[in-house]
Amino acid sequence: MSSGRKEKLVAPGMLRDLITAWLGDGDLLALGGLFKQGRPCALVREVIRGGRRDLKLVSSPGSGFDVDVMIAAGCVAETFLPAVTLETRMCPAFRGAVEAGTVRAHCVDALSVVGGLMAAAHGVPFQPVVAWKGSDVPRNNPLAAEITCPFTGEALFATRAIRPKLALLHAQEGDRYGNIRHLSTMTYADQMMARASERVIVSVDRLVSTEDIVARPRETTIPCTYVDAVVEIPHGAHPTGSFPLYSIDEAHIEGYADVAEAARRAGRDGGGDAGDGLADYLTRVVRAPATQADYLEAIGGKARLTALEQEAASL
């Protein structure tokens, strides 16, 4: 029956062209995962290599590493990101760019982003929000407006539908038709972003058969009908975690943060060679690797990956 069914599986080498076709300079890009889990880091490196600029970014309400690398690489003009942090420390490139005025970081919160994605996923122009009281965020939030309930007469807020041009997501498994399965306990806003976005590309750590998908349909987290392209990229979330397959590479993220922080201070102080570490990182780790295998070699190879797999297996 499925002999003539169209596949959505693409080769990693096709990614850059696809991303460039589906995401223009200045467009709104959505990134899946949260903080250091399930981030589409391999896909983000392709966006950087593709040279897109002036992007607007939205994500689940917590982001950090990959967003900071995109800002460091000069791809970003505006962010609609509630929290941007490496959790144990701030995001250096984000902080530096906002303080320098080169990136505009809108004050949005979880409800504006989640509500906006919900509205787009549901096909309506806005989502009502009540739970914004006392904070300065809704007062400065470009996604928020005041509205009156037609039933109760109460004053509340509306948050505007967010419809990204492209969503980049990462999951553990998927089939060649684009049925996606997260094995992780946490999936954050990935499903909602898939439903809200015009185009969706998902990297998966491993391809599975459609028979395997049909055997457990309740476990499909993103049905194929929302997915435009699926690509198999082992360790595609590195250095963030992809549980239960591999854990978070905190040392890698710390190492990046150190060179990015040095660059930030150098930029602020106008001083010397302190940005060289970041430039080297962007060249050596982000831009130079031609394949995921090259990337994995650059970040420490088999020894590093095995350690991360063992940590995930021990949890």
């Binding site: 929290a83 942090t85 919160d109 979880a110 006392g134 306990t185 946490m186 954050y188 949890l315």
Partner: protein, 255 residues
Amino acid sequence: MTDTRCTPAELQAFVLSRELKDGEMGAAGASAAIPMAAIMLARHMHAPDIQIAGEMFVNPRPRQLWDSMLDDRALGACEAAETFLELFGHSHRGLDFFFHNGMQIDRFGNINLHFIGGSIDRPRMRGPGAANISYAGTSRRFYICTHAHSPRTFVPRVDFITSPGYLDGPESFHAAGLKGGPALCVTPLAVMDFDPDSLTMRLKSVHPWSSVEEVVAKTGFELGLPDRVPVTDLPDAGTLDLLRGKVDTAGLLRR
């Protein structure tokens, strides 16, 4: 023999654990090793029926603490997984308790995580922002738990209200329709609560390694001072055993 000299982080977790009541439902937030330790400890001690929910996991069983406490490392083992879609509803219904940290905290317990100085579009210092600001206003109460106690953190007035405390006091707090508000502020040096009339912060107890003078000096606004300021109760040996042996098995709070 257990070393009963606890660290500031351990004491913060212990102080907070005693505030949580059996049968309540709450969550710890992001970057939440101390709050999650407090909840877990309370469950081991006096509140076995605390429900941990409202973020994207229900009743997790972390084998150890982690700095984040919002990913599968810590929370993969739990009774149910939710997503941000359900979090939207929780944020509106509110919880019994929640926890916040702050880059700036003022005497009304307002919290700033967005920016210090300059303007919103060109700040002198841009902070991380916050994911969920709503629990501060919808929950029965929240706790402020900080890693630092300095005049830079405790300021007379925050530059931007990320999560509302008592705003400008009783009138504005009630006018805004806020619920609950901050109950305690627990720092590495002291425990503060809020005067029920003025809703301003006052000293409640001082940790044994600090003093009223130190706390006052490191607080950037006029802290309410009762006639007598007790020393913060320390956990006893059995409690510390539980905290170290069952909750913080990796020793994160002892770093």
